[in-house]
């Protein structure tokens, strides 16, 4: 069976890849494109470790077919920092020790960016419900939520 040739945009750059019709975006990002920052935790859309943005919408990349990205834009964890500067969300995750093993961190940072684009001033409860699709087994979420709220304050220009 012939492979599909897909032209898309990943992290602001034009990108193309070959894939089979059944392959997920997660699989192709990792094994095809070589962007290993997007993590696989379940492949059933339950853990959020593979979160990416597709045309500005937060999706688990394990539930998107790679071929569906034709002509669309994909943003992954690799596109969150700008040049030599970490994104404020990344910086706040570090300052608050909001990661232990770090496997859920890329997905959580992508999801947090999606949250703060929609809602720059979330309450703790809003942050917890928005991020309920991203499992973390190490932290108990406390320091993650603190990092998210602190990043939101910083991005609003308020002193953290």
């Amino acid at each position: 069976m012939g492979k599909l040739h897909i032209e898309t945009q990943i992290n602001g750059e034009p990108a193309e890849f070959l894939c089979e019709g059944h392959q997920s975006l997660l699989e192709v990002l990792r094994d095809g494109v070589g962007l290993l920052g997007t993590k696989e935790g379940c492949t059933t859309g339950d853990c959020g470790a593979c979160s990416v943005m597709l045309d500005g919408r937060l999706v688990p990349s394990c539930l998107v077919l790679a071929a569906e990205t034709e002509g669309r834009t994909v943003e992954t964890i690799e596109g969150v920092a700008t040049g030599d500067q970490l994104h404020p969300i990344q910086q706040k995750f570090l300052e608050h020790a909001a990661l232990q093993c770090g496997i859920c961190t890329p997905g959580l940072i992508v999801a947090t960016r999606a949250l703060l684009e929609k809602n720059p001033n979330p309450t703790e409860t809003e942050a917890r419900y928005f991020l309920a699709g991203n499992l973390c087994r190490c932290t108990g979420y406390d320091k993650i939520i603190r990092a998210v709220l602190d990043a939101a304050a910083e991005m609003r220009g308020e002193a953290g």
Partner: protein
């Protein structure tokens, strides 16, 4: 020791490996790609217990892209032999059979064949085309069945009790005093029986490895593990190889909680790599993680505690029965060792049974066994406090162990902080805050003995005055930061000037696993000692530069100061000494190794407020506080992180998590949708209070902190539920249907 004033210990620098982990650059177990790599997959048993009559791999082998198909017949026979004692140990024959079944499959998910192919999809399809003829055997799915007189016996040749084949692999007993007599002295006796389900560690990263075989017989394994030296040794034992032929390079690890202290895929990938001459990567699916890796035991615990009217405990009796899964090795020993260790019981008896059943072989899970026995004991103590009408913290303070008390399993406690955690919990605003409607509050304590084991470390100083520290412990929760802090403290340079590194089996001295809450404690001791040797060498170099004796040089906070004959020398900081290393004797490198026989135990007290919806039985933890003795917190943020994470896992165990089996013994919920771990909206902020009662074994007073936090929550939540609903829950999880049924029954 406790008088020492620290400059870096106790601060909260950003972890050295942090940027890689927030940018997605860090490489985990599934992230190692080699040129020409094949992809492996495993065919697993569809039955909980069956004899394998025949395996036909021809259809799988005929597929395009399939390069090798293996079954148990391709693996060497490793005899069963228990290495260890009743309290714990290992059987490499069982590990080998768990990695690949031979003539029998013992649980739904047991590996029975493996494929290497050019893509994962082809390998998985080939696994589906492997035809297995089974002779299905009765599945032993619970403890009552396993212990019944006519039970199917899983390992008739291995476990014999009273002359009869048995599913009981081990029995452990600790006794002291005159139990029967003591109970007659009690004014109040509480006796109850508890049940907890099999639960999974739930690490987000599935097991994964990549293996390369060289024609000289040498293997390199890249994998996500809690201990590279363990992988090397286990894989060698399972394949009958010289460990020297195996190099293990630990990748970053995406959670383990004890579940990555053993091997599953590695020997399979090794044989596939050897058979094909190509590198092979294997990664479990989430379903495989649930069906074939890690869980901890389901258990039954009967507890009887007697007390005087004034609250003094006079006797404790526990009978603990734990599921081992398909092979011997439940944490029956640790569950027994910890059961009654928090309080003084003048008379006690603890009996603990390790029982095999047709479920996945259990692996370590954070303070293995302790949460199960602690749930039962601390629930009974809560009942006692109600019957005696004594405040639950006061009752515990009245009976709490302290320095000089002997634990039922033998050791005499040195300085410990149980009493301090109780006092801090009582003083915390949480404990006296008003409760809302349908809310209840519970408290419980927990104990874990922690491990010492073996560690080594290498510290070197560079010509620019920076330092490198190499250890052999995979960094599962921020330990690189702790190692860097300790080097910084000893040498006297900023933490950012220390680069910590996790070595492989060929770049560091032998080091036991990341487990037992031992890394910052034991590996830290090696790091401190190696750093102190570095400081001695730096003083020697300063002495050479000044032309004096080493005793004429004092080193403080990164600076050499002259004494005696060198009293008139200007102080010389490290950045002046370091460039002169090449002319004063060459590089400064030091190593150290430790093997502490004990670790210094950890105690904690937790407080939980829960709100229960009487209409649905759904509960929500609305406030949670953890108080724990850390001895000395090296990086307080990561100590708090352990306390919060352990509490969250324990809350999940208490309220929602459980394996669900169908009547044939098949796992019905092998995924995160149906195996319900806590998500962000399930939990409140988790408040932390770090108590510091110095551990006399450690130069800074450090205690392990990783495991203790999962011990109290099961009982803490159950005691809160008792307060909210009036119902004593003796079975976990306290899921909404169970809560609704119980509260309907009592009309509360």
């Amino acid at each position: 020791m406790s008088k020492r004033k620290f400059k870096y210990v106790g601060t909260r620098p950003i972890r050295p490996d942090g940027v890689e982990k927030v940018t997605g650059r860090a490489n985990y177990g599934a992230d190692i790609m080699l040129p020409g790599m094949l992809h492996g997959a495993i065919a697993r048993s569809e039955h909980a217990h069956a004899r394998i009559v025949r395996i036909d791999t021809s259809a799988a082998e005929a597929m395009d892209g399939v390069r090798a198909v293996l079954t148990g017949a391709d693996f060497p026979d490793i005899p069963n032999q228990w290495m260890g004692d009743d309290e714990g140990g290992i059987d490499f024959g069982a590990i080998a059979q768990n990695c690949m079944a031979r003539d029998r499959v013992l649980y739904h998910g047991h590996a029975l064949a493996a494929v290497a192919a050019t893509t994962t999809a082809i390998a998985q399809e080939a696994c589906r085309r492997i035809e297995v003829e089974y002779e299905v055997l009765p599945a032993v799915m619970d403890l009552d069945t396993a212990l019944s007189p006519d039970a199917t016996i899983l390992h008739p040749e291995a476990h014999v009790r009273d002359g009869q084949p048995s599913n009981i692999a081990t029995k452990i007993v600790y006794e002291g005093g005159e139990l029967d007599d003591a109970f007659t002295q009690a004014d109040v006796i509480v006796e109850r029986e508890f049940k907890t389900p099999m639960v999974h560690q739930g690490y987000i990263e599935p097991h994964g490895c990549t293996v390369r075989f060289n024609e000289d017989g040498k293997y390199t394994i890249w994998c996500s593990t809690q201990g590279a030296f363990g992988v090397q040794m286990f894989a060698a034992m399972v394949l009958g190889l010289d460990p020297n032929l195996i190099k293990c390079v630990p990748t970053e690890i995406g959670g383990g909680f004890g579940g990555k202290t053993t091997i599953y895929l590695e020997p399979v990938a090794m044989l596939l790599a050897r058979h094909t001459g190509r590198p092979v990567r294997m990664v479990m699916t989430r379903e495989e993680v649930f069906r074939a890796s890690g869980p901890t035991s389901g258990g039954q615990v009967r507890v009887k505690i007697g007390a005087k009217r004034d609250g003094t405990f006079v006797a404790g009796d526990c009978e603990i029965t734990l599921e081992a899964g398909a092979f011997r090795g439940s944490p029956a020993g640790a569950a027994a060792m910890t059961a009654l260790s928090s309080y003084r019981f003048p008379s006690y008896r603890i009996q603990s049974y390790d029982v095999v059943v047709n479920k996945p072989k259990v692996a370590a899970y954070r303070a293995p066994g302790a949460p199960i026995s602690n749930f039962a004991v601390e629930s009974c103590i809560d009942e006692l406090s109600r019957e005696l009408e004594i405040d639950p913290i006061e009752l515990r303070l009245q009976n709490a162990v302290e320095e000089g008390d002997r634990a039922p399993y033998g050791p005499v406690f040195k300085q410990i902080g149980l009493r301090e955690t109780l006092e801090q919990a009582r003083a915390h605003p949480h404990y006296s805050a008003p409760l809302g409607e349908n809310q209840g509050r519970g408290i419980a304590c927990g104990f874990w003995f922690n491990a010492g084991l073996q560690s080594s470390a290498i510290v070197s100083v560079n010509a620019d005055g920076s330092a490198i520290v190499r250890t052999g412990n995979p960094d599962i929760g921020g330990s690189r930061a702790s190692m860097a802090i300790m080097v910084a403290e000893e040498i006297g340079i900023p933490v950012e000037r220390v680069r910590p590194m996790v070595g492989d089996t060929e770049s560091v001295g032998y080091t036991d696993l990341t487990g037992g809450s031992r890394v910052t404690f034991a590996t830290g001791m090696a790091v401190i000692e190696a750093s102190q040797k570095v400081v001695l060498q730096l003083r020697e170099r300063a002495a050479i530069i000044w032309g004096v004796e080493v005793d004429d040089v004092r080193w403080e906070d990164g600076v050499a100061y002259g004494l005696n004959a060198a009293a008139d020398q200007d102080p010389m900081p490290l950045h002046v000494v370091a460039p002169q290393l090449r002319t004063t004797g060459g590089p400064v490198v030091a190593s150290a190794q430790v093997s502490p026989p004990a670790a210094g135990p950890g105690f904690a007290t937790h407080i939980c407020d829960i709100e229960v919806d009487p209409e649905t039985g759904r509960s929500q933890v609305v406030r949670y506080t953890t108080v724990q003795d850390a001895g000395k917190a090296v990086h307080p943020s990561y100590v708090e992180g352990q306390m919060q994470g352990g509490a969250a896992q324990g809350i999940g165990w208490a309220l929602n998590e459980e394996y669900v089996w169908d009547e044939d013994g098949k796992v019905e919920n092998p995924g995160f949708l149906d195996y319900r771990m806590p998500v962000a909206s399930d939990l409140p902020m988790i408040d932390t209070v770090i108590v510091e009662v110095p551990n006399p074994i450690h130069p800074y007073g450090v205690r392990g902190v990783g495991e203790t936090p999962i011990v109290p929550p099961l009982a803490t939540v159950a005691n809160a539920m008792r307060s909210a609903t009036g119902v004593r829950f003796e079975q976990l999880p306290m899921s909404p249907p169970r809560v609704l049924a119980a509260t309907d029954e009592t009309g509360s």
